[in-house]
C-alpha cells in the first residue's frame, strides 16, 4: 500500500505510476480495484478551523471521527450526516473525510441540509498526471470559474486523488426529537413523510421501517421549538397512523443512517434513489427480502438474494447502486448503474482529460 505523507509525495507517486492504482482513504467502503493500493491516510491534519465562519479546511486522510470530535468541541458538526459503512459491509479501517467526499456519502439529514457536495467548499487534488489542482476555496459563495468541487465529490477518485477538502460546517442543534407514526403501510408512510416535509416544521429526517410498520420524522433545533414542532406534527399527522413522540432519537437515526437493519443479514444490498412518490408502486416490484426507506421514501435500501440483478425491475426514473455483494456479482453486474449514452460519453471524456493514463480506479464508475 502506497501511503504518501504529503501532497507533493502523492503527486510524485501518481506522476510516476504506469499501472492501475486502487485509490482509497481508510478502505471502509469496500470498493476494491485490481491495482496497487494508494491510500490518503497519511495526509492528515487540520489546516484551518474557523467556528465563527462555519469553515473547516482539513487534509483528506484525516479520520472522520477526529473531524467530528474537533467540531463537537465547538458545538458544530458535519450537517450532511455521513454514513459509516463498516457495519453494513463488515469492513475494518477508519473512515476518512476524503473518503466521505470522494464517495459523496450523505445521511438522513440530506433532505433538509443537503448532501456532502452541498457542504464542500473547496478541494485540492492530484490529477491522473500527478498535477496538483485546486478549485473552490473556503468561502460559502464562490462562482469563480467552473465548479470542479462538485465534480470531484462522488467521483470516487476517478478524476483525481483528493489531498485536502474545505467544508462548510453547521451548529449542532440544541435538541433533536422524533415523531414515530405506527401502523402505517408504505403508502401512508410516504404520504405522512411528504406532508411532514411539506410542513413549515423544518423536518430533518423522514424514514420508514416496513418491518415495524413505523415512519420516523425528526425535527431539530432549540428545545422548546423542537418540542412545539413535534406536538404540531403529532396532531397534523394523525390521519396516517398513530403518531407519538419517540424518546430515544440519536441511536435511532444512527441506525437509519448506517442501514443497521441489514447489518449481519446475508444477501446483496442495493441502494436505490427515486422520487419519493414513486417508491410506493416500485417497492413490491423489487421482490426484495427486506426493505428500508429514508429521505421521505426517496432512498430505498433493498436486500436481495446474492447475484440478483435488481435494475431491470426498476421502471421509474432513478438510480441504483450495488452497495454490498460478492466479488463475482460485483464484477458481473458492476457497482454503479450504467449511464445513458451521451452522459456516459461526457463522463468518459472527463476521465480521459483528468486521467490520461487511465490509472485512477479504472473500471470503477463505468
Amino acid at each position: 500500500m502506497l501511503t504518501p505523507q504529503s501532497e507533493a509525495e502523492l503527486a510524485e507517486i501518481i506522476a510516476g505510476a504506469s499501472g492501475p492504482l486502487c485509490i482509497q482513504g481508510g478502505g471502509t467502503r469496500g470498493l476494491a480495484i485490481d491495482g496497487e493500493g494508494l491510500s490518503t491516510r497519511g495526509l492528515t491534519g487540520v489546516e484551518l478551523y474557523e467556528p465563527g465562519a462555519l469553515t473547516l479546511v482539513v487534509r483528506a486522510g484525516t479520520p472522520v471521527a477526529e473531524v467530528e470530535a474537533l467540531l463537537a468541541a465547538e458545538n458544530q458538526r458535519l450537517a450532511f450526516e455521513p454514513m459509516d459503512h463498516r457495519g453494513l459491509l463488515g469492513t475494518g479501517g477508519e473512515p476518512t473525510i476524503g473518503g466521505v467526499i470522494a464517495a459523496g456519502v450523505s445521511g438522513p439529514r440530506r433532505i433538509q441540509a443537503g448532501s456532502a457536495r452541498d457542504h464542500l467548499l473547496g478541494v485540492r487534488f492530484a490529477d491522473g498526471a500527478g498535477q496538483i489542482v485546486k478549485n473552490g476555496g473556503r468561502v460559502m459563495k464562490n462562482v469563480t470559474g467552473y465548479d470542479l468541487v462538485k465534480l470531484m465529490c462522488g467521483a470516487h477518485g476517478t478524476l483525481g486523488v483528493l489531498s485536502e477538502v474545505s467544508l462548510k460546517v453547521l451548529p449542532v442543534a440544541e435538541a433533536s426529537a422524533t415523531v414515530a407514526i405506527e401502523g402505517a403501510d408504505l403508502g401512508a408512510a410516504v404520504a405522512a413523510m411528504s406532508a411532514a416535509l411539506g410542513s413549515p416544521y423544518d423536518v430533518t429526517g423522514a424514514a420508514y421501517d416496513p418491518e415495524k410498520q413505523t415512519a420516523f420524522i425528526r425535527v431539530e433545533g432549540f428545545a422548546d421549538s423542537a418540542a412545539y414542532r413535534c406536538r404540531r406534527l403529532v396532531s397534523e399527522l394523525a390521519g396516517f397512523g398513530s403518531p407519538r413522540i419517540e424518546d430515544e432519537s440519536a441511536a435511532l437515526w444512527r441506525g437509519i443512517r448506517d442501514a443497521a437493519a441489514f447489518q449481519g443479514r446475508a444477501g446483496d444490498i442495493w441502494r436505490i434513489s427515486v422520487k419519493p412518490s414513486d417508491a410506493v408502486a416500485l417497492a413490491p416490484r423489487l421482490q426484495a427480502e427486506a426493505l428500508q426507506f429514508d429521505w421521505g421514501g426517496g432512498l430505498i435500501w433493498a436486500l436481495l438474494p446474492a447475484g440478483t440483478d435488481l435494475r431491470p425491475r426498476i421502471n421509474v426514473p432513478g438510480h441504483a447502486a450495488l452497495v454490498r455483494a460478492g466479488a463475482g456479482t460485483r464484477a458481473r453486474l458492476g457497482v454503479f448503474q450504467p449511464q445513458p449514452g451521451p452522459l456516459a460519453a461526457l463522463s468518459a471524456g472527463l476521465r480521459r482529460q483528468f486521467d490520461p493514463k487511465g490509472i485512477l480506479n479504472p473500471g470503477l464508475m463505468g
Binding site: 465563527g52 465562519a53 469553515t55 459523496g104 448532501s115 452541498d118 498535477q131 489542482v133 485546486k134 478549485n135 468561502v139 460559502m140 459563495k141 464562490n142 462562482v143 469563480t144 470559474g145 467552473y146 465548479d147 470542479l148 462538485k150 465534480l151 465529490c153 462522488g154 478524476l159 449542532v172 442543534a173 411528504s194 416535509l197 411539506g198 413549515p200 423544518d202 433545533g221 432549540f222 422548546d224 421549538s225 412545539y228 434513489s273 427515486v274 422520487k275 412518490s277 414513486d278 429521505w295 426517496g298 432512498l299 426514473p317 432513478g318 438510480h319 441504483a320 454503479f336 449511464q339 452522459l343 461526457l346 463522463s347 471524456g349 472527463l350 482529460q353 483528468f354 464508475m365 463505468g366
Partner: protein, 482 residues
C-alpha cells in the same frame, strides 16, 4: 475590455445562416435587422457593447437543439442569454455570434408539492417560480437581488445566490436536474426529481459554468415550504471590528439566521438620505433576520440581542410587527438605488472569510484615499459576500478607468484575504483577466479540460471566464479547424 476580433468568414455567412435558421424556426424567432439586434448588444454590464450577428428566440428545447446544430455545422459561436441581467458581462455578444435568448421559454412544466419540486423552462424569472407555488405556501429559495427580472437559465449559468443563502444555499444547492442542449444539438437529461443521479456530478459542473458547456432549457428545482414567520433586528456599532466580532459570535452561538446584512457608514448615510428608514448614524449596521415559529423567533432573537448587547451597540431595534420589519429592511433594500442617486457607481462582488472583514474594510478605506474615489460597502455578512460600490463620474474622462483599476485591487484584496473574486455575479468578461490571481495556470487548465469535453470546438459563450491569453491556443485551433 479586449474581445477577440470577429471571424470575417462568419460575418460573410450571415444571410445563409439566417436562411437556415428560418427553415427550422418561425419568422418571429430570428432577429437579423441591425436596429433590432442592438437590443442584445449588452447585458446589465452596459459599459461594453457589441451587436450580435443575429439573435434567436426559441420557444422549445427542440428549437434550441435545431439552432445549436445549425450553428455547430456553420462554426458560428453562440452566446446564451437569460434575461440579460448579468452584471459581469456574461451574455456580452461578439459581432460574429448568434445570441440565443431563452426569454420566451417561460412555462411551468410540472408542479409537485408531494415531492417538493417544480420543473420550469429556463426563461422563467426567478421570482415567478416562487409565484407559481405561492398559493400552496411554497417558495424557491435562491433570491438574487435581480429576482424580479433575472431568468432561471441565467441563475443556473451563474450559480446565483442572494441574501438568504446562509440558510438555504445558492442555485447549485437547489437544482436537481436539467435538460441540457449540447453545442452539437444533442439533448441530454442530467439528474431529475430523484436525489442521487449516479455517475459523475455533471449537474454540479454545469451550474456556474456561465453558459459555456451547453444551453439549459429546462430545470427541476427544489421548492420549500415557507417558514411560519420571519423577523429582523437592527444593530448599530461604532466600529467595523466590533460588528464583525458580533457576526462571528452569533454564528458561534449556534444561531443560524436566515440573513445577516452589514452596511458601512457611507452606505448607511446614502441609504438614509434616500429612503429615510430611520437608521442610526454609526460606523456599521447589521440587519439580522431569523425565521421559524413565533416561539422560535423570540428565542433566537433573544440570543442574538444578548450577544449584540455584550458588544455595546449604539442602537438595537427589534421589529415588533411587520411594519417595523419593513422599515428595518427598507434602507438596505434601496441601497443600490440610493447609491445611484448620488453618483454613477460600479458594484463589485467579492467574497472573504468573515474573520477578515475588519481588515478588508480598513484596506478598502485606505485604497479609497489612494484612488480618490469613495466606496460604500454592503455585505451578505453571514456568508462573506461583499458588494463594494465604487462611486465615480461616468462623464469625467478617465474616471471609469480609475474605477476599474480600483475595483481590480479590491478583488485581489479579497483573494489575498482568503476569499474569491466573485461570490454570486460570475466572472463573465468583467473579472476574466483577474482569474490568475485566484488560480494557478494548472488550476485553470483543469477547468479548460472540462470545456474541451462539453464544447470541443469552443463555440459556446466565447471569451468569457478565462483570460484570453490562457484560452488563445484552443480558440485558434478551433477556428483553424472551421
Amino acid at each position: 475590455m479586449e474581445m477577440p476580433s470577429p471571424n470575417p468568414a462568419i460575418l460573410a455567412r450571415k444571410a445563409r445562416l439566417a436562411e437556415r435558421l428560418l427553415a427550422v424556426l418561425p419568422d418571429d424567432a430570428v432577429i437579423q435587422d441591425e436596429a433590432e439586434t442592438r437590443a442584445y448588444e449588452c447585458d446589465a454590464l452596459t459599459a461594453y457593447r457589441c451587436p450580435p450577428l443575429l439573435a434567436v428566440l426559441p420557444r422549445s428545447t427542440q428549437e434550441v437543439s435545431d439552432i445549436l446544430r445549425i450553428c455547430h455545422e456553420e462554426g458560428v459561436p453562440v452566446v446564451p442569454r437569460g434575461a440579460g441581467t448579468s452584471l459581469a458581462g456574461g451574455a456580452l455578444p461578439t459581432a460574429d455570434c448568434v445570441i440565443l435568448g431563452v426569454a420566451r421559454m417561460n412555462g411551468v412544466l410540472e408542479t409537485d408539492y408531494g415531492n417538493r419540486i417544480i420543473r420550469v423552462q429556463t426563461g422563467r424569472t426567478n421570482l415567478s417560480v416562487s409565484g407559481a407555488v405561492e398559493e400552496a405556501d411554497f417558495f424557491y429559495a435562491p433570491d438574487p437581488s435581480s429576482q424580479l427580472a433575472c431568468a432561471i437559465g441565467g441563475n443556473i449559468a451563474m450559480n446565483s445566490g442572494g441574501a438568504h443563502c446562509l440558510k438555504y444555499g445558492v442555485t447549485t444547492n437547489n437544482l436537481l436536474g436539467v435538460t441540457l442542449v449540447m453545442m452539437d444539438g444533442t439533448v441530454v437529461e442530467i439528474g431529475g426529481a430523484h436525489l442521487d443521479a449516479g455517475g459523475l456530478d455533471l449537474l454540479g459542473v454545469i451550474c456556474g459554468s456561465e453558459g459555456q458547456l451547453g444551453v439549459v432549457t429546462e430545470a427541476t428545482l427544489r421548492i420549500l415550504r415557507k417558514p411560519e414567520g420571519a423577523r429582523p433586528v437592527l444593530i448599530g456599532y461604532d466600529s467595523n471590528e466590533v460588528a464583525g466580532a458580533c457576526v462571528s459570535d452569533i454564528i458561534k452561538a449556534g444561531v443560524l439566521p436566515v440573513a445577516i446584512e452589514f452596511m458601512d457608514r457611507p452606505c448607511i448615510e446614502a441609504c438614509e438620505a434616500f429612503a429615510k428608514a430611520g437608521y442610526p448614524m454609526c460606523e456599521a449596521l447589521l440587519i439580522v433576520e431569523v425565521e421559524g415559529s413565533p416561539e422560535e423567533i423570540d428565542h433566537q432573537l433573544g440570543l442574538i440581542i444578548e450577544i449584540a448587547r455584550s458588544h455595546n451597540p449604539v442602537e438595537l431595534r427589534e421589529a415588533g410587527d411587520a411594519e417595523e420589519a419593513g422599515r428595518i429592511w427598507l434602507g438596505r433594500k434601496s441601497a443600490f438605488g440610493a447609491m445611484g442617486q448620488i453618483n454613477d457607481y460600479m458594484c463589485l462582488d467579492g467574497t472573504i472569510p468573515v474573520s477578515s472583514l475588519p481588515y478588508v474594510l480598513r484596506r478598502i478605506g485606505e485604497m479609497s484615499q489612494e484612488f480618490g474615489l469613495d466606496v460604500a460597502n454592503v455585505f451578505h455578512a453571514g456568508d462573506g459576500n461583499m458588494h463594494p460600490l465604487i462611486l465615480f463620474d461616468a462623464n469625467k474622462p478617465g474616471d471609469l478607468e480609475i474605477c476599474e483599476a480600483f475595483g481590480a485591487e479590491i478583488l485581489k484584496l479579497c483573494v489575498e484575504a482568503g476569499g474569491c473574486l466573485t461570490g454570486e455575479h460570475g466572472v463573465g468578461i468583467e473579472k476574466r483577466d483577474l482569474m490568475l490571481h485566484q488560480y494557478s495556470a494548472t488550476d485553470l487548465e483543469a477547468q479548460l479540460k472540462v470545456k474541451d469535453v462539453f464544447d470541443p470546438r469552443w463555440l459556446l459563450n466565447p471569451a468569457k471566464v478565462f483570460p484570453l491569453a490562457v484560452t488563445e491556443g484552443r480558440r485558434t485551433a478551433a477556428m483553424a479547424a472551421e
